[in-house]
């Protein structure tokens, strides 16, 4: 009898191993930057190439820093949600336009709407590197003092906004 059931037993062990493997989702690992001050930078404004924006310009309020690019297809999906968040006005959104073309990025904002208070233009991905950005979109919640309190990887959806980001924003504001 045992030899007939053996394959099943081995297989079940294998499936449980794979199931454990699945739960080890690398996305759940928190970023070491969380709890640390956002890196300093000086970048030009996307829409006003002669204006330079620095870290100090953004501080004072809790804000969401969204890393995006026109070549990123999921940013397009996320854009709608960002527009809604901007309309609700809970938190100002700053954009970090990452490894992109200035003209195309401006055109994108004209066509799809602009949810951002301001957009930083980072064509070389230099600030992105400091932030540990690998792909787009990624979003960072930064508190009044400039400390990164939360990081979200991947597009923000309505559900993520409600369940993940908003509670953090409220908690930070209440602090």
């Amino acid at each position: 009898m045992i030899r007939y059931v053996l394959p099943l037993a081995v297989f079940l062990a294998l499936v449980s191993l794979l199931a454990i493997g699945l739960t080890r989702d690398p996305r759940l690992v928190p970023s070491p930057l969380v709890g640390q001050p956002a890196p300093a930078f000086a970048l030009t404004d996307l829409q006003q190439p002669d204006h330079t924006v620095t870290r100090a310009d953004l501080l004072g309020k809790v804000f969401l820093l969204n890393v995006w690019a026109t070549w990123c297809v999921s940013c397009r999906a996320e854009h709608e949600v960002l527009m809604q968040i901007a309309r609700q006005g809970d938190v100002p959104i700053y954009g970090l336009n990452y490894k992109d073309d200035r003209q195309e990025a401006v055109r994108w904002l004209q066509r799809l709407g602009n949810p951002y208070v301001r957009n930083l233009y980072d064509p070389e991905g230099q600030v992105g590197l400091d932030l540990g950005v690998y792909g787009t979109p990624e979003s960072f919640l930064v508190d009044q003092k400039g400390v990164i309190v939360h990081k979200h990887v991947g597009p923000i959806t309505a559900a993520i906004w409600q369940q993940e980001l908003r509670p953090v924003i409220n908690a930070v504001k209440a602090r």
């Binding site: 297989f11 294998l14 499936v15 191993l17 794979l18 493997g21 080890r24 999906a77």
Partner: protein, 666 residues
Amino acid sequence: MIPELGHFALILAFCMALVQGILPLVGAHRGQLAWMGIAFPAARAQFLFVAIAFACLAYAFLAKDFSVAYVAQNANSLLPAIYRFSAVWGAHEGSLLLWALILCGWTVAVTVFSRSLPLEFSSRVVGVMGLVSVGFLLFMLGTSNPFERLLPMPADGRDLNPLLQDPGLVIHPPMLYMGYVGLAVPFSFAIATLLEGRLDAAWTRWTRPWTLIAWVFLTLGIALGSWWAYYELGWGGWWFWDPVENASFMPWLIAMALIHCLAVTEKRNTFKGWSVLLAIFGFSLSLLGTFLVRSGVLVSVHAFATDPARGVFILTFLGLTVGSALLLYAWRVSNVTRRGGFDLLSRESLLLTNNVLLSVAAATILLGTLYPLLLDSLNLGKISVGPPYFNAVFIPLMMPLVFLLGIGPLTRWKKERFKVLGSRLKLAFLISVLLAGALVGLTAIPSSLMVAIGLGLAVWVTYTALQAIAARFRYGQDRWRTLRAIPLEFFGMTLAHLGVAVFVVGVTLASSQSVEQDVRLEPGGAQTLAGYEFRFDGVAETMGPNYRAQQGEIRVFRSGELVATLFPQKRIYPVQPQPMTEAAIDPGLTRDLYVALGEPLGDGAWSVRLYYKPFVRWIWLGPLLMAIGGLVAASDRRYRLIKQARRAAVLDKMPNELGLAREGAQ
């Protein structure tokens, strides 16, 4: 509109799959003819709908409809039409659609070629395939819809990964999927048999050609993939033991074991349970491979974009399919097994050893592939298991296998006398040892024990395979009639075995005698490698349809004579700002010259990688021979004469004297 039509067709196909997966099985269980009769039309209707969906996606690609997200991600208006078509299966969603299409295609093939099977049995087979299809279509509709729209529509697409813009990759995935999915057929046959609760030798006769053809496709698919990696990745390697490669290699090994096992089951009516188990394992490993590739649990050069939701789905699907199959096996298999007696020295035990070696090889590969995951799960650190492990384990397992491969075809069923066999093989052994010794000793090539063993095994396999054919000739007076009396299956086997010999030669020589060098070359500079002089004439800019390239010119001389002019390229695809090394190869039966551009080093100088690879073509020539052998074997008369198969099915229920009689003819 067209994408919505495709989506709708996919939903209809899903409904059809439900019908095909449920009604015939219930009907067969209850003995209701009408319900069983639904199986074939439902399978064909499902194929039609999936084909429509596939055509819609292909149309979206050809018409550059970038409002479809999947098209926008994998094509670009500058992408040539052929690659826009192959981009259909260039990423996750579309390759699933191809999977589903091929599965339906196999099911329709079963309905066409298995009309003579008992209705109850064939409706069970088609029903099981329907259930598999339900899983895949649900997966696609639920987590990976290829027809999803992207609004507003982007101006242009992101383009296909440049690595995939290659003729080899146009045909490699379809071939591989034909093999992967084709293993669903023996799987379904096995499940149907278990459901029926009886397993006669007819089952094996029905299953064998399907297994052979699936294995042929898998062989071609793997060989194509290896060939692609060789010329496209720019590193000159042909097998990397990458998890994704392993995912296709394990089912291949098991399918090969199954082919040999079915031979025993058909001829000698034993090893039945083992055959059923191998049929289940083969397809399970196909599914496991899909899981590993799609869920992103493993690190791989080839990994698809990962998505945990997809991983969970496939794991559940895998668990349900394979779990229920193995449960059914545990419950039913004792009804169907029957032991046949055979001696320690007999073809049965040699084939059993073959099966054990192949299965153990597959298991060690599975272990090596999953070990990093296991350690990670137990928080023991992040590791990777590299090619050294696989080589250390796989090669020692294959050497006895190849050695036994020479003995098997010359050994009698049931009982063989050691002395008789020894006298039959004496000469072959002597010749192999002497020839290998001569080859290694007399040629000036640097060599080792492994080279001698490799070449010796190749000679051994070739000699014994020819000897087995020659032995057949000796029986008859009329040569021509004897030749025609030898079943095609036998020729197929011989060809496949010769393919092994060719492959062994290729691997042995290419891995031990290759010479490679990274050099800095200035325009006009030259480098000599393995007797060839490579002269670098500089790099010029050229343009392709959707890329620009730096193209080097290298002339190769041997003893002052021009052998080849090679144009390796370094391409940039502007849409995905990604450089690509396009190696230039001068192919030859006994050697390849391989040149790849590295980086510019200033003043027109470049770093250049040069390779001399002897007999590397044989690595793909061998599998090609194996595949041809498989096809020849599958076209054996016995499988074509459907009516005869049915009669044999009746006869096989009698004890195995008949099996013996037929074996005598073989």
